[in-house]
């Protein structure tokens, strides 16, 4: 009883715009009115426009042969994600082993999303970033060049995965970090930049020990207009 009085006292005195807990209050009506909405569920499908973008253009430092193979991997992720969706719907919820299918879903689904984000933030000869973007980036990373260095440093993380940049809305900050495989360590927020650091992304054109060289080239292919557009949409 005492702690409820303390909490109510705090609530009346604090100017915060949200309740610190979400339990039902004594006088709240038991049924909240809920607006109706509808989802139209689909399957993943290969974005052929995106495929054309990366396979019909010449990206310096990335051979077309490697790009074509990379696209095939992406097609595989789309297929696997859809297969998993179908199997997860079929499986009995009581079966512990079939629940493991769900564990794999993040891997396949993020595999689809991250590859689409990656392919669409590449440009054969990108324009310089806008003054606004440079300013926002510099606030977080010191300077635009330091930011480009940071992408390469984080991209050198041992293991297999991605460098992603997300907008964390509760911090109002850009978070640049390593994601292991496709799903471990992904920060919560809209992804504004994705850089594929899996070996398949560079190993046909570069030595296995040369991820650094691949990244040094990759940062010259990032489409800053796309990054900025995503950031504005996320804000």
């Amino acid at each position: 009883m005492m702690h409820i009085l303390v909490v109510l006292a705090l609530l009346s005195s604090c100017k915060c715009s949200f309740h610190p807990f979400s339990g039902p209050l004594k006088n709240a009506s038991p049924k909240r009115p809920v607006g109706t909405y509808k989802l139209s569920p689909q399957e993943y499908s290969v974005n052929e426009t995106l495929v054309d973008w990366v396979t019909k253009n010449n990206f310096p430092g990335i051979s077309n042969k490697m790009m074509v193979e990379h696209v095939d991997l992406y097609r595989g992720y789309v297929k696997n994600a859809n297969t998993l969706l179908a199997n997860m719907a079929k499986s009995s919820i009581d079966s512990v082993m079939k629940l493991e299918l769900g564990r794999r879903f993040g891997f396949e689904a993020n595999g689809v999303h991250l590859h689409e984000l990656f392919f669409s933030n590449l440009h054969p000869s990108p324009a310089s970033p806008s003054e606004n973007l440079v300013s926002v980036i510099s606030d977080e990373f010191g300077s635009f060049n330091k930011f480009l260095e940071r992408i390469q440093i984080i991209g050198g993380t041992r293991g297999t995965g991605w460098v992603t940049m997300t907008l964390d809305k509760s911090l109002n900050r850009l978070i640049l970090n390593w994601v292991n495989e496709h799903q471990d360590g992904q920060s919560i927020g809209d992804v504004v930049l994705a850089v594929d650091c899996w070996e398949h992304a560079y190993i046909k054109d570069y030595k296995s020990t040369a991820r650094g060289d691949y990244l040094q080239n990759l940062v010259k292919l990032i489409d800053w207009e796309v990054v900025e557009r995503r950031l504005k949409a996320a804000m």
Partner: protein, 177 residues
């Protein structure tokens, strides 16, 4: 498998050794904060796993087809049926998502085919399993020669080049320990 692919793989292994040594030097450096040292130790375990797994891998492949003794075939095959069943199982587990190592492992009383994710050697050794066969299924092991979709073909090919003499010796060492 081309020399280009194999030589590149050796360079990768050498880099892991260099990384391990660099991390060891860092750990010996008094000016590195304690919290960072914990992280470095963790990474050094990772590098160590990478090194050990690569050594086991390079040791157990041979361009000459080396078959096991009848005695060994009886022991192992009784669990799987025959050697080609083991080969097929290795190909099957290698289709696991992500990168890692396909292998045959033995404990005191059982032999299993399993997939090590990433470099997580601990996942099998903590369960009491020691390696008999190790096949590298990271992309650097096969993409140059077999393409990005070539993992299955690569593992199938490699099962023909397993040095069963080495595998048999490992098995005997485990069971006599």
């Amino acid at each position: 498998m081309t020399l280009n692919q194999i030589n590149d793989h050796f360079r990768y292994y050498e880099k892991a050794v260099a990384n391990y040594n660099a991390l060891t030097t860092l750990l010996a450096n008094d000016s590195v904060p304690e919290q960072e040292k914990k992280q470095i130790e963790f990474r050094r375990t990772y590098e160590n796993n990478t090194i050990r797994l690569h050594e086991l891998f390079f040791e157990n492949i041979n361009p000459k087809r080396i078959l096991p003794s009848l005695e060994f075939t009886d022991k192992i095959a009784s669990a799987f049926g025959n050697l080609s069943a083991i080969e097929q199982d290795l190909v099957a587990v290698s289709e696991a998502e992500g990168v890692g190592w396909a292998g045959l492992f033995a404990s005191n009383d059982s032999v299993v085919v399993a997939f090590i994710r990433g470099s997580d050697f601990g996942s099998v050794s903590d369960a009491g399993y020691k390696p008999l066969i190790i096949i590298d299924c990271w992309e650097h092991a096969y993409v140059k020669d077999f393409g990005m979709q070539g993992k299955k073909e690569y593992v199938s090919t490699l099962t023909k080049y397993i040095d069963w003499g080495v595998v048999e010796k490992r098995f005997n060492d485990i069971r006599s320990a």
